[in-house]
């Protein structure tokens, strides 16, 4: 280990906050060598990004303070070198890419200018920089590199922007590339492409790659070694295969156990009556069709999953059914009555029966209302449960039902974690005793272990209360565990639909097959097998 290119030893970082000192990371150590990929795996709040930020000198100090430890790059302790020397290293020898490429590209400059600046800032001549930028833009697989240079960040898609970020990071041929959740914001198929690109580039340049992620599938796909972090400490370290198959620490076991896509596939029972039937629904934004003749049927007590990549129209579908958007044509029959043509009074009574859980609970809960107010708002609107004591009791019951405590009712949303907030949103939906809950990416913003808990909660609600679910997701693993029927959408059209078993075991359409193939399995061996079989026929 002594000859590692980059080594973090015994690093402890504290954050000073109004509530006293928080130990963000404690005695963390890891190392990475040329040509090697190290994954730092952890859930939000585990401190997985902190050590990488310390390497890049990106920590805001204060509130952060490095208490102990050293960061050795080629044997030199970075924490003892001057700010100027570190600036010279950053970008040139150690580069970094981020989760949200749009946030890290300046919207007012063309991407070409920004990539070239990366080199000129380190004192290289502009014409050489331009040539290298062109070469790299072509290398990361963007069409028409010459024209791409003159475009602005908003003119690229999310995956293309991440490619641009990678190109920018590689301009000066760094020895180490740190990637902080590089594919989290991307669709599965794009994620697979970006990971493949990173691997290719690593093989070409021999750089060391440090990948920070919460996704076991990403680890299985790309990492040689992995360190698992929890609560600021490294709980487990080893090769990717070892950690997956022989986890020692209970946290690692829990994390692996929570990975979706391993449960029994459910067989739908079509005997129950149809609750919601959508017929030939169409919707266009300007000239862009968002929904093209979408038809589906949801039976009572079942869950129907709508799967697709971003821009496939799956959220538009939910919003149109809920009349948050107006449809151009088509019908959505709720127990035989058309929701699209319904008048305001009928709609109000239906609003009680159909509830929605949104993707991001941080945004879908009013920050200025207490949990009690949030949950009881539906009763105010529909003039239900007028008695205050009865209300209090019912709110307490609902909170217990979703796994929270009755005394949480007096708190405000910001005092809860993401998973708890989503539980509050579910309790709000349950308050009106709906027959259908529409979940728009309801678990995609949550950590894996919390995701598993929320899914289990939704499943038990379905079984106990007979609630139906329209479940919109991009994560196929979650869908496999939860849905009876799956509908696959692409650019506003239904590509394929059928019982979950059929879709997963015997997909007919090439798009569905591609989607399934791009979905990463948490088992490194399975991933390796897939890579082999994918490259064999080519």
């Amino acid at each position: 280990m002594a000859d590692a290119l980059l080594e973090v030893r015994n690093l402890s970082v504290d954050f000073h906050t109004a509530h006293g000192t928080v130990h963000a990371v404690r005695k963390v150590g890891w190392s990475v060598n040329r040509g090697e990929t190290l994954a730092i795996l952890g859930e939000s709040g585990s401190g997985k990004s902190v050590s990488a930020s310390a390497v890049m000198n990106l920590l805001d100090m204060p509130p952060a303070r490095i208490v102990s430890g050293e960061i050795l790059f080629e044997g030199r302790d970075l924490l003892k070198t001057s700010a100027e020397e570190r600036r010279a290293l950053n970008g040139k020898r150690i580069a970094m890419i981020f989760q949200d490429p749009l946030g890290h590209l300046n919207p007012v400059y063309s991407v070409g200018w920004q990539i070239v600046e990366m080199m000129t800032a380190h004192g290289r001549p502009a014409d050489a920089a331009r040539a290298r930028a062109l070469e790299l833009i072509a290398r990361v697989g963007l069409p028409e590199p010459e024209r791409a240079m003159h475009k602005y960040p908003h003119q690229f898609s999310g995956g293309q922007r991440q490619r641009l970020m990678i190109a920018m990071a590689l301009m000066l041929k760094p020895d180490i590339l740190i990637a902080d959740e590089p594919t989290t914001a991307l669709d599965v198929t794009i994620q697979a492409e970006v990971l493949a690109l990173l691997k290719e580039l690593q093989a070409e340049t021999g750089m060391g790659l440090v990948l920070i992620t919460h996704d076991l599938g990403v680890v299985a796909e790309i990492a040689d070694r992995v360190v698992v972090m929890s609560d600021g400490e490294i709980v487990e370290a080893g090769t990717a295969g070892d950690v997956y198959h022989r986890p020692h620490h209970p946290y690692t076991r829990k994390l692996i156990g929570a990975a979706p896509g391993k449960g029994e596939i459910r067989r739908p029972d079509d005997s129950s009556p149809v609750l919601l039937e959508i017929k030939d629904l169409c919707k266009t934004y300007g000239h862009v069709p968002a929904l093209k003749n979408v038809s589906l049927a949801l039976h009572k007590g079942q869950s129907l999953a709508v799967v697709g990549e971003s821009g496939s129209g799956k959220s538009t579908l939910a919003r149109t059914v809920l009349r948050l958007e107006t449809a151009d044509s088509g019908e959505a029959l709720w127990k035989g009555k058309d929701l699209i043509a319904m008048n305001a009074r009928d709609l109000l009574s239906v609003r009680r029966q159909i509830q929605m859980v949104f993707q991001d609970p941080t945004q879908s809960l009013n920050p200025r209302m207490s949990v009690y107010q949030i949950i009881s708002e539906g009763w105010d609107i529909h003039r239900l449960v007028p008695d205050r004591a009865a209300r209090r009791k019912r709110v307490a019951e609902l909170l217990e039902q979703v796994g929270l405590l009755p005394e949480h009712a007096q708190r405000y949303p910001h005092q809860f974690s993401g998973g708890q907030r989503q539980r509050i949103a579910i309790a709000r939906a349950l308050a009106l005793e709906p027959e259908l809950i529409i979940c728009d990416e309801a678990v995609s913003a949550l950590d894996v272990s919390i995701q598993a808990q929320v899914i289990a909660l939704l499943d038990s609600l379905r079984r106990r209360l007979g609630i139906s679910f329209l479940f919109i997701a991009h994560d196929l693993g979650v869908v496999r565990d939860f849905a009876d029927t799956v509908v696959v959408m692409k650019s506003g059209e239904i590509v394929e639909s059928g019982p979950t078993g059929e879709i997963f075991e015997d997909p007919q359409q090439p798009y569905t097959q591609r989607l399934l193939a791009a979905n990463l399995d948490p088992d490194p061996d399975v991933q390796a097998q897939r890579r082999l079989s994918a490259s064999a026929p080519a």
Partner: protein, 308 residues
């Protein structure tokens, strides 16, 4: 990380009400002092004219422009005397009433009308919004002092007319700010969640949008307070505002202007009062913004009582 805030703030939710607010005010000493200053000014405005009304209008030509901090002529002359030998202290106290009435009245009217129109323009459809916004443009395209001069000339100068005129000229500021914020807030997820639950527009506007917009409006209103006081003095200076012997701080400033080189205190004390009032309002509104925001409240609750 968020769980760390749980123990402390949860208590305040249960305690609730005015007691909790007062406790938070006690912890922020700057805001506490501001609140006390404002309280004193309000009391002056309420009972000052009854107690000191005669004293403030009593001319004493031997005491013309008598310097401040001289107790020879009695306590009333501690801040000096004005150009007709009337005690400055008494006049300041008496002037508090008209000043506060005009400023608070104009700001409150402009705030209420502007915010209401802004909420409607922002939340309801395009047609209503167009009408309201063009009205605002019409008001804004006139120089505000010109409207004031015309209206006051026609209606005759009086306190209610002053309030009316100043309110009308300030409405577009609240209207535009509110509308801009509403356009952003209405797209937020929790508003959509309320729509899905079946909430009517009135409920969404009042329960979900207004609380988010309110802090901005309160901040603008406190800044506007000083502006309105000075605008009022400008009108009084032109002779179409408050008429002597009635008196306001703004009018006192403009009356003291010719004597700036010989008797600075004539303009200085009323000017200082305007500064103190607006400063206190600003500090208090700053505190209120934090105290009324559940996500920020811990900043005040976490504070120890010794901390200023």
């Amino acid at each position: 990380m968020t769980d760390l805030t749980l123990p402390k703030s949860s208590q305040s939710g249960a305690r609730g009400g005015i007691a909790a607010l007062l406790a938070m005010l006690w912890r922020d000493k700057v805001a506490l002092v501001s609140a006390l200053v404002l309280l004193v000014i309000v009391i002056c405005a309420l009972i000052g004219p009854t107690l000191l009304g005669d004293l403030a209008t009593d001319q004493n030509l031997r005491g013309r422009n008598s310097p401040p901090f001289d107790l020879e002529r009695g306590w009333a002359f501690v801040l000096g005397g004005d150009s007709l030998g009337r005690p400055m202290l008494a006049r300041l106290v008496v002037a508090a009433r008209s000043t506060m009435m005009v400023a608070a009245g104009a700001v409150a009217c402009a705030l209420l009308i502007g915010a209401a129109l802004g909420l409607v323009a922002g939340y309801l459809g395009k047609g209503v919004s167009q009408v309201i916004m063009r009205l605002a443009d019409v008001i804004m395209s006139f120089p505000s002092l010109l409207i004031a001069v015309v209206v006051l000339y026609v209606l005759g100068p009086s306190v209610p007319n002053m309030i009316l005129v100043l309110a009308i000229t300030r409405i577009p500021i609240y209207l535009r700010t509110t509308r801009a914020e509403v356009l952003e807030v209405r797209e937020r997820m929790f508003v959509q969640a309320a729509v899905v639950m079946g909430a009517r527009p009135g409920r969404i506007i009042l329960r979900h949008i207004l609380p988010v917009v309110a802090p901005t409006l309160v901040t603008i209103a406190t800044l506007d307070f000083a502006f309105v006081m000075l605008a009022e003095s400008a009108l009084s200076f032109l002779g179409i505002g408050i008429q002597p012997p009635d008196i306001t701080w703004g009018l006192m400033v403009s009356q003291g202007r010719p004597y700036l080189t010989s008797a600075w205190w004539l303009a200085f004390w009323p000017g200082l009062m305007i500064v103190i009032t607006t400063l206190s309002l600003n500090l208090l509104s700053n505190w209120m913004r934090i105290a009324l925001d559940p996500a920020q409240r811990w900043r005040l609750e976490a504070r120890s009582t010794t901390n200023g």
